[in-house]
């Protein structure tokens, strides 16, 4: 493969056609994504509700929704829970398990590998409306499969460990993406690099540290970016715990659902949605910062590789 990186305009698209190619997608995005998103952000500045007097006559309240949320202990605890949830289930859980699976399955072929990949992917693509039932059956206090297996009758996983439960649930639900991504990424690690480390006597952790992680760092960052973003907006745990008990699993999307739909405070809900966006933005910028350091180095690399050694 001669040039993995794209030269400018290999197919001779030209600017005009390039625009024509991008335009349909951008139009759809503009109409059905950007426009409603901006409208939602505007709603966040009002006291708009779905019903009641505020529905007939919403008023601009400035940043009241924001200060309201930021001073609401429930929001803050929800934010903290979300951080734990994202950190535990996405960053550690999905990415960690996904990597572990990708790494251990890397050299395997045959039925075991296909079975593991099959169930992991199945967990990912089953409809979210259905998976709630599956997990009830697993975690139920009285007749749950898990208690039956562990001989711990009556252990109420969802009540005693609500956050842990939804973290494990989300790991189950979302590991497939990380596994797939890392599997593909690991194929880009030159085997000769790993073998050089092995010949030097490096054990597996040392191989990971010295060879694998540096080589797939960009994949790791992209993966973290996407799964953090998705987990931050993941509403599915609601079907398991309904945010409870006592809000101990009320992550931000559930909080928004409660505020916007149950309590009908759409203005406040919109404001919180925007806050989530800002938090995601901060997260993305942090990841990108890590990435950029890498990128610049890579660009350097390309120039050097193409232009021969600098004197």
């Amino acid at each position: 493969m001669a040039r993995p990186t794209s030269a400018a305009d290999a197919a001779g698209l030209g600017t005009g056609r390039a625009i024509a190619f991008v335009l349909p997608a951008l139009t759809l995005i503009a109409v059905f994504l950007v426009f409603p998103a901006l409208w939602t952000i505007y709603l966040g500045l009002t006291d708009y509700r779905l019903t009641g007097t505020a529905a007939a006559d919403p008023r601009l309240v400035g940043t009241a929704n924001y200060t309201g949320a930021l001073t609401d202990p429930r929001f803050l605890s929800s934010l903290w829970l979300t951080v734990l949830y994202v950190g535990g289930s996405a960053v550690i859980g999905q990415a960690g398990l996904g990597f572990t699976l990708a790494w251990t399955l890397r050299t395997r072929t045959g039925p075991l590998r296909r079975a593991v990949e099959g169930v992991v992917l199945l967990s990912w693509i089953l409809p979210s409306t259905v998976v709630g039932f599956l997990w009830f059956a697993l975690l139920d206090r009285d007749d749950g499969t898990l208690n039956a297996l562990l001989h711990t009758p009556g252990l109420a996983w969802l009540l005693d460990h609500p956050l842990l439960s939804i973290i494990v649930f989300n790991v189950w639900r979302g590991t497939a993406f990380s596994m797939m991504l890392y599997s593909a990424a690991l194929e880009n690690v030159p085997p000769s690099h790993l073998e050089t480390a092995r010949l030097a006597g490096a054990n597996v952790p040392q191989q990971l540290r010295d060879v694998v992680l540096p080589a797939i760092r960009r994949h790791i960052l992209t993966n973290l970016l996407l799964i953090s973003l998705w987990t931050f907006n993941d509403f599915t745990p609601f079907v398991l715990t309904g945010g409870g008990p006592e809000g101990r699993s009320e992550i931000l999307p559930v909080y928004v659902y409660r505020v916007a739909l149950k309590d009908g405070q759409l203005g406040a809900g919109a404001a919180i949605s925007f806050l989530i966006l800002l938090i995601n933005l901060v997260l993305a910028l942090a990841y990108l910062r890590l990435l950029r350091g890498r990128r610049q180095r890579r660009r350097h690399q390309e120039i050097a590789a193409a232009g021969g050694p600098p004197a």
Partner: protein
């Protein structure tokens, strides 16, 4: 040698444990639909097919799966086509700020998929005359999926060597011919993966489908699943378990098809 074998044995055990963890929750889906008295827990079923007869009696059940296919398939097709075109152009032509734009759209998509965007989306759909149409659902959900799809597909495109396209170009192929003859076949595994991903994302979606549709003849499975409760909110498990199974099958079938045909994976990884 022994060490090696032991190590391999240990990883096999670990893998088997993971396999069990992932498979365990699915037991319910395998047992409850065939149980005479399905409960919310898993048990060895008193085997019956009565539940299937019951769900087939529901006037909307089968139709809703067809609707899911229309909406999910439509959205998947739309997302794949538009995202492929856009990703291709973005991958091959340098547009300043394209990465920042993609990230921004990715972030905005999180606002719009949330509950709070309900009112704007609904009003928009009303004004555009999209209420109670499959098209409305398709367009709305596609809008939310497109940024991530473009983001992922662009990386696929970045990883395909440009010499194929250049070669075709020297032979006189037009950009559209290049796209049709060369690029699409080359990234087909990526397109298939994105299609399954899009389908699976749309498949379980409830809120937008529900507020945008009026006629239950058009409602997708996710909405119909929600109707299988009593007035007091208790689930009718015989119907729900059976329907869940039927309703999961198309996605699973599509996954199996794609994975057999193209290999369900992210070739090269995503690393933008």
């Amino acid at each position: 040698m022994i060490r090696h074998t032991l190590g391999r044995l240990a990883t096999t055990v670990v893998i088997a444990a993971v396999l069990a963890l992932f498979a365990l929750p699915m037991l319910w889906l395998a047992s409850a639909p065939f149980d005479d008295t399905p409960a919310i827990t898993t048990s060895i079923p008193d085997f019956t097919l009565r539940n299937f007869a019951a769900i087939l009696d529901n006037p909307y059940a089968l139709g809703s799966i067809r609707n899911s296919l229309i909406q999910g398939g439509g959205a998947a097709a739309l997302v794949v086509v538009l995202a492929a075109l856009a990703a291709y152009a973005l991958s091959r032509v340098r547009v300043p700020g394209r990465d920042a734009l993609l990230y921004l759209l990715l972030l905005l998509s999180s606002v719009v998929t949330g509950t709070a965007a309900m009112v704007p989306i609904f009003e928009l759909a009303t004004r555009l005359g999209l209420i109670d149409t499959h098209l409305g659902v398709i367009l709305v959900v596609s809008g939310g999926l497109l940024p991530a799809a473009i983001f992922i597909l662009k990386d696929f495109m970045d990883d395909t060597p440009t010499s194929y396209e250049e070669s075709a170009r020297v032979f006189g192929a037009t950009p559209l011919q290049i796209l049709r003859h060369i690029v699409i076949p080359l990234v087909r595994p990526g397109l298939a993966t994105i299609a399954v991903w899009a389908l699976a994302s749309v498949w379980g979606g409830f809120l937008f489908q529900f507020i945008l549709l009026r006629d239950p003849e058009k409602a997708p499975g996710s909405v119909i699943l929600y109707t299988l409760y009593t007035e007091g909110g208790a689930p009718k498990l015989d119907l729900i378990s059976t329907f869940s199974l039927l309703y999961s099958l198309p996605v699973v079938a599509m996954y199996l098809f794609v994975s057999k045909r193209y290999g369900f994976r992210f070739h090269g990884g995503i690393k933008t």
